[in-house]
Symmetry: C2
Subunit: 240 residues, 2 copies
């Protein structure tokens, strides 16, 4: 089956994101160390984030609001206005962090964009993700940008029909099994997992190791070879 | 020129939005009345919002963060944690407000969707706007939903090409001259202004009263008649 469209995740696939969240959480721990130890705080902020997911969705603004709510909670309302101000500031820094492509990404996108139609497919805050793409300098490699509230099988089916000839002629690559790999496979697409060294706690899921359209690749630089193998499969092995 | 696609703004065109922002601002004024009078606070929050627009974009989460920043500013850092907690709560209420279609909207969309392909085109927070559309019960009338970070002429050209046969066969309707009318006209589309009784301060712009593809209509219920006039214009008056 020939792949014509390639979907790519953004955060922690094209550029660092989780690294900045970890730094933010560390600073948050320091600000509240008078009230609570790091371990309990980590549990509280994760619980607050999950509770707020249906209201705030994904992204740095919602995370900042969840940090503030957690600070009030763990301090029993006695958090200082200085700490509140600092939390707003670390949230702003999180939104303003430098966007640098991960090693090899620029070259890989150059090669991939010559052979496939690239579509950026990312969850999170519309405005912030568009700003990050602009800051990354990678925008010119993409013929489409789709910022979505959830990554489900229907999401991939819709996007790959819009930008190509349907999910069975498309592949998705990203660092999350749950968001990038499983729903893309379910939609009928190929999917490559490109693991990042830090994994976001919500995103864990078992690897579909035996799935015929799945691969785990060490880096984005390995995508062109895998994709050309996928496209030639019918000819080489007679199972299109 | 036949119109086949109709773009519709969401907030204050299909349902109340500004009303809830006004209530939120009023509650914010009350919370900070020990520090500052309503008029100065209004000036400060507007200035903070404008300053943060490039970082937060549009939407209720960014507005909540701007309220918190303004509270710290006008109180010289002496705002109570109770007030901080209340500001978070009014922000949550703003995100959770009931979404009721404005009078006549349901019937108008029923009629319009039988004759045109409807596309919802709105700025703001992706997750929140999708939630509001779901809560409104109006989703089934739309064949497309486009949540965008800015409404520019290129935005309309791209959307009306994606969902139809280009901007010259499309019309846009909404309550903002600056966001809904002027850029749609610039893109070559028709545009109808449907004023809302409250106007957001940032959105003011002079009316293009003499533009041949512009109309100001009292309500969404007047759209079908205007649009059928537009489509028949070539035949009736010989100026297609």
């Amino acid at each position: 089956m020939t792949v014509t469209v390639l979907g790519l995740d953004a955060d922690d696939t094209l550029w660092h994101n989780e690294t900045f969240y970890q730094l933010t959480r560390q600073r948050f721990n320091e600000l509240l160390s008078d009230f609570v130890d790091a371990e309990r705080l980590e549990g509280e902020i994760t619980a607050t984030e999950k509770r707020n997911l249906g209201l705030y969705g994904y992204g740095a603004k919602g995370f900042t609001l969840s940090m503030l709510e957690t600070a009030l909670l763990v301090s029993n309302g006695s958090v200082s206005s200085h700490a509140v101000s600092e939390i707003l500031a670390v949230g702003r820094e999180l939104m303003n962090h430098p966007v640098e492509p991960l090693p090899g990404v620029h070259e890989a996108l150059e090669a991939l964009s010559a052979a496939y139609r690239l579509v950026l497919i990312t969850k999170g805050d519309l405005f912030h993700q568009e700003s990050k793409l602009a800051a990354s300098g990678l925008g010119r490699f993409f013929s489409g940008v789709e910022i979505v509230s959830e990554k489900k099988a229907e999401t991939y089916a819709r996007i790959f029909s819009r930008h190509g000839t349907g999910p069975e002629h498309a592949a998705m690559a990203g660092n999350s099994v749950r968001s990038d790999v499983l729903p893309a496979l379910e939609a009928g697409s190929y999917a490559a997992l490109i693991p990042f060294h830090l994994v976001w706690a919500h995103e864990d899921a078992p690897l579909p190791t035996d799935h015929p359209r799945f691969a785990e690749l060490p880096s984005l630089a390995d995508l062109p070879r895998w994709l050309s193998g996928v496209s030639n499969e019918g000819g080489l092995f007679g199972r299109s």
